[in-house]
């Protein structure tokens, strides 16, 4: 091992340069010397020069003038020249360079060289940078080498074949016979190469995969040998025999066992054996266990084995090693939908991982916790999630907040809990919540009429503490505007009441109006709230009048417009003020996914009432419905704003364009609800009704919604649904919204089933319904042969 002195001297010289500039100088000099030497055809020291150039290249300096030298060196008969020449080829030449073609011939010659180390250089270089043409050219040669008796060459040829197959798919056929025969080798290196080659061939072509399925028993045999065999000094790593080979075989088994019952059965015992026998105290053992778990979860394994796999993941979660916790959670994330119940068992550990120091672990824990939220664990999980939110890294805040909102919406045990949760999120992470949180929360508050007093008190207190979180401030202003009278009454059942005067409340709103921290939207809210209070307070109406008139000359156009219109409301339309500023009615809840966004622009502008009502909602431009109502209003009828209820209704319906529909809606304001997917009742017994409705998602994908309700007088508990579909259809059941059905239809249960029918077979579904009614357990089965909403032509 004689080091190259000239090379080392140069390295030393470069390293002793103190500045970037000095280094560049040294390198320029050296490169000039190297170039001169390249032109000189002197044999001695040629390899040293090229090595120097490669070092310079690694530092990031251009070295393309060395390409031809590489070609020359490779063609040299000396081994030291070839070694550096091939290294240079791998570093400087890639398939895009023209010079790479020039070495094809050298490689061809070296592949049949009498010395195996020369052959090895050629094989290595071909596998590293061989272009498609080179691969086509040399493939037969590689196949020949696969059959050689030298295992050193065979293993390299196998990996070279892998590269060839990746570059030129059609050549895969050429290597299939040799790959098959290589499986009977004893040499681990060759075996490993063979497994990699077979894996590549199977991944590329389904027909080849079918043919290689026959090798499953052989692979199982080899694995057994590795697992059971005693200590083998050559391949042992911390007590595991050749973990690299084990992992590769497990991966190949995974590919072969996927979607195939017979193959999966054949490997069942082996997988159980590996899972139980592998020592999990070191990373190496865990690497093998991890691969085993991935394989078990991907093939058609029996349920006992699946449970074993999930338990291994559960054990990983408790491991001290952070890496292992991370991969456990990544794997659990993939199966949380399909093996929901098994993963639920480890919920406690997962939620604990929210407190881990590592950001990646935290992110995984958050996603998993959100996926595992259900009706039964909502309270405890939410507690943990809220604690997490207050200390979580900023990049996760938005995701955490929206996840919490979704979970709260689906599983809230009570309205008050729901509102409290949302308020908590707004106070901790208000800046990161999505825009629609504000209207959603307002809608929720309006709908919970019994909690208006409680809500406004809480929000008022929050407003006094902190006005920097815009969503919170907006909601607070809105509430104070709406329910200010409750605030001023000074009494509240649910929480400690505040004793405030009207001035205090108006002060609070004015602070928001004038603060630098308030965005224009927030100030709009505050102004409107101040205006609304004019009908809810007694003494300070003049103060409000003056505030409103001041903003009539505000620079912000939106505020100015509002102020001007409110002024007009005070002056010319004072008789309407009470009616216009009346309490908002209950808003119809939007179904998920609907927006009002497509509505055409507001065409009629004058009516203040329209504007006022519009701003209360803070929703995108109103459908034309309101415009018509106001035309009615202005027509002279002095009734209180009756249309407000249909305003509310209209706001949540399908958007309509202004213009044409204006005329239609003048007739009668029927809010047009969206046409729901037709629901068909499939089961009706003991007062329990089960309906299904479907929605086609894609060419072969279908979402089926099962809805259950209970019209009897007694509660139903332990309600579960199980579904089965024909063989080629894939089924995924989401977690149900609840597990009990209260009496008299007080609440419905929904469960989503995602189906994928790639072969377009005739779709049928068997549903088993189990529940406990009046102390006795009931189990029934129904078969659904036709799905509503699907065309007669089938999926």
């Amino acid at each position: 091992m004689s080091p190259s002195v000239p090379l080392q001297e140069m390295i030393r010289a470069i390293r002793s340069a103190r500045t970037q500039c000095e280094e560049r100088g040294v390198i320029q000099r050296e490169c000039a010397a190297i170039r001169a030497q390249f032109r000189n055809t002197d044999n001695e020291g040629r390899s040293h020069n090229l090595a120097k150039l490669l070092y310079v290249h690694m530092l990031g300096y251009p070295a393309h003038f060395g390409q031809m030298e590489c070609v020359r060196m490779i063609a040299s008969p000396r081994y030291s020249d070839k070694r550096v020449g091939y290294l240079g080829a791998m570093m400087l030449l890639d398939e895009k360079q023209d010079a790479s073609l020039l070495i094809t011939n050298s490689i061809k010659n070296d592949l049949s060289h009498s010395n195996q180390y020369v052959q090895s250089l050629a094989l290595c270089t071909l596998a590293c940078m061989g272009s498609a043409e080179m691969c086509r050219d040399l493939a037969p040669e590689i196949d020949r080498l696969l059959r050689s008796s030298n295992s050193y060459i065979k293993k390299k040829a196998a990996l070279c074949a892998v590269h060839i197959v990746r570059k030129v798919r059609e050549l895969g056929e050429l290597f299939v016979p040799s790959a098959r025969s290589l499986l009977s080798e004893k040499n681990h290196g060759v075996l490993h190469g063979a497994v990699v080659l077979i894996t590549q061939l199977c991944e590329q072509s389904p027909e080849t995969l079918e043919r290689f399925r026959k090798t499953v028993p052989d692979l199982v045999q080899i694995m057994k040998g590795l697992v059971i065999s005693g200590y083998s000094p050559d391949h042992d790593v911390a007590g595991v025999s050749d973990p690299f080979l084990q992992v590769r075989i497990l991966r190949l088994l995974r590919i072969l066992g996927r979607h195939n019952e017979a193959a999966s059965d054949a490997m069942n015992d082996l997988l159980a054996q590996v899972a139980t026998n592998t020592d999990s105290t070191k990373t190496v053992g865990n690497a093998v266990l991890y691969e085993t778990v991935l394989t078990v979860l991907d093939i058609k394994s029996e349920s006992g084995l699946r449970v074993l796999a999930v338990n291994i993941l559960g054990r990983f979660l408790l491991n001290n090693d952070r890496n292992i916790r991370y991969i456990a959670m990544t794997s659990l994330q993939k199966i949380v939908v399909t093996d929901h119940i098994a993963v639920q068992r480890h919920r406690g550990t997962i939620v604990d991982c929210l407190k881990d120091q590592d950001a990646s672990v935290k992110r995984r824990a958050l996603e998993l916790s959100l996926a595992l939220v259900s009706a039964s664990n909502i309270r405890s999980t939410m507690k943990e999630l809220l604690i997490f939110l207050s200390s979580c890294p900023p990049e996760l805040r938005a995701h955490a907040a929206s996840g919490i909102f979704n979970a709260a919406e689906r599983y809230a045990p009570s309205q008050r809990w729901h509102i409290d949760t949302i308020l908590h999120v707004l106070t901790t992470a208000g800046a990161d919540v999505r825009d629609e949180t504000v209207p959603n929360l307002i809608q929720l508050i309006t709908n919970t009429s019994e909690l208006h007093c409680y809500t406004v008190h809480k929000l008022y207190r929050a407003l006094l503490t902190d006005i920097s979180q815009q969503p919170l401030v907006q909601v607070a202003c809105w509430c104070i505007g709406e329910y200010g009278d409750l605030l001023l009454k000074g009494e509240c059942q649910e929480t400690e009441a505040v004793q405030v005067t009207e001035d205090d409340v108006l002060d609070a709103l004015e602070i928001v109006l004038q603060s630098h921290m308030s965005t224009p939207t927030t100030r709009g809210f505050a102004l409107t709230a101040t205006m609304k209070l004019s009908t809810r307070i007694i003494d300070n109406v003049d103060r409000i009048r003056s505030v409103v008139s001041i903003y009539g000359s505000c620079i912000d156009v939106e505020l100015q417009q509002r102020a001007v219109e409110y002024n007009a409301l005070f002056k010319k339309y004072d008789h309407m003020r009470a009616a216009v500023l009346e309490r908002m009615p209950v808003i119809q809840k939007n179904s998920v996914g609907q927006t009002n966004g497509e509505v055409g622009e507001e065409t009629v502008k004058e009516s203040q009432a329209a504007k006022v009502a519009q701003k209360e909602m803070a929703l995108p431009p109103q459908p034309a419905g309101q415009v018509c109502d106001l035309l009615d209003l202005l027509g002279g009828s002095q009734e209180p704003l009756q249309p407000s209820s249909s305003l509310g209704g209209a706001a949540s319906t399908q958007p309509t364009t202004a213009g044409g529909d204006l005329l239609d809606l003048l007739g009668g304001l029927e809010p047009t609800p969206p046409t729901p997917a037709p629901a068909v009742t499939v089961y009706e017994k003991n007062g329990v009704t089960l309906t299904i409705s479907c929605e086609q998602q894609s060419d072969s994908g279908l979402t089926v919604t099962l809805t259950a309700s209970n019209s009897s007088d007694s509660d139903i508990s332990g309600f579960t649904l199980q579904a089965a579909v024909p063989k080629s259809v894939q089924l995924q059941m989401r977690a149900p919204s609840r597990d009990s059905l209260p009496a008299n239809g007080a609440a419905k249960l929904t469960q989503l089933v995602i189906l994928n029918n790639p072969n377009k077979v005739n779709l049928k579904m068997r549903i088993r319904v189990s529940y406990t009614s009046q102390g006795s357990a009931v189990q029934d089965m129904v078969q659904v042969d036709s799905f509503p909403g699907i065309g007669a032509a089938g999926l």
């Binding site: 091992m1 004689s2 080091p3 090379l7 080392q8 390295i11 490669l54 070092y55 690694m58 990031g60 000396r78 081994y79 030291s80 070694r83 550096v84 290294l87 890639d94 398939e95 895009k96 009498s114 010395n115 195996q116 180390y117 290595c124 590293c128 940078m129 295992s151 050193y152 293993k155 390299k156 990996l159 070279c160 892998v162 590269h163 681990h188 290196g189 490993h192 990699v196 050559d234 391949h235 790593v237 050749d242 973990p243 690299f244 992992v247 991966r251 990373t283 190496v284 865990n286 690497a287 991890y290 691969e291 991935l294 890496n323 292992i324 991370y326 991969i327 590592d358 950001a359 990646s360």
Partner: protein, 156 residues
């Protein structure tokens, strides 16, 4: 398969780069820059896995050197850590208590060892002894360059 392996120091100086797919020089430089920034920015007690674009990045620090492997999605991350460890062991056996300077001054040897252990983005040989013996034989072959070398056939 593995896409690349990079070795760099705590100051971000590259000590070894091995690419297993064909990509342009510009792209390589970009990846090197991003990897060094990402890995060096990691706080001390975090896990050794990262996600970057569609790859998994597995890195481990040995003394003053960071070993960084970019692998594809199906690869086993724990095994990737073992691969890095195996390479360090091979270097250690060859240089005897390897340190960063050894790799700097004998970078071509580090490449030769890597080329006996990995090939085409996959593991080539799972036995330490066989890799060591192959390197020794190749070195002796190089020494014997000045004399006759056609018949030097050491270990199979």
């Amino acid at each position: 398969m593995m896409r690349f392996m990079l070795l760099f120091s705590r100051q971000g100086r590259l000590r070894l780069q091995k690419w297993f797919t064909a990509i342009s020089e510009r792209e390589k430089k970009k990846i090197i820059r991003e990897m060094t920034t990402m890995v060096l920015a990691r706080p001390p007690r975090t896990c050794n896995f990262l996600r970057w674009k569609d790859l998994k990045i597995v890195y481990k620090r040995y003394a003053s050197l960071y070993f960084c492997l970019g692998v594809e999605d199906e690869e086993n991350e724990l095994l990737a850590l073992e691969i890095i460890h195996r390479y360090v062991e091979l270097l250690d056996k060859y240089f005897g208590n390897v340190c960063e300077l050894d790799i700097i001054f004998n970078f071509e040897k580090a490449y030769f060892i890597l080329d006996e252990f990995l090939m085409g983005g996959e593991i080539q040989e799972t036995s330490k002894q066989i890799v060591n013996r192959a390197i020794e034989s190749s070195d002796m072959l190089q020494e014997d360059d000045h004399s006759e070398w056609y018949d030097v056939e050491l270990f199979g």
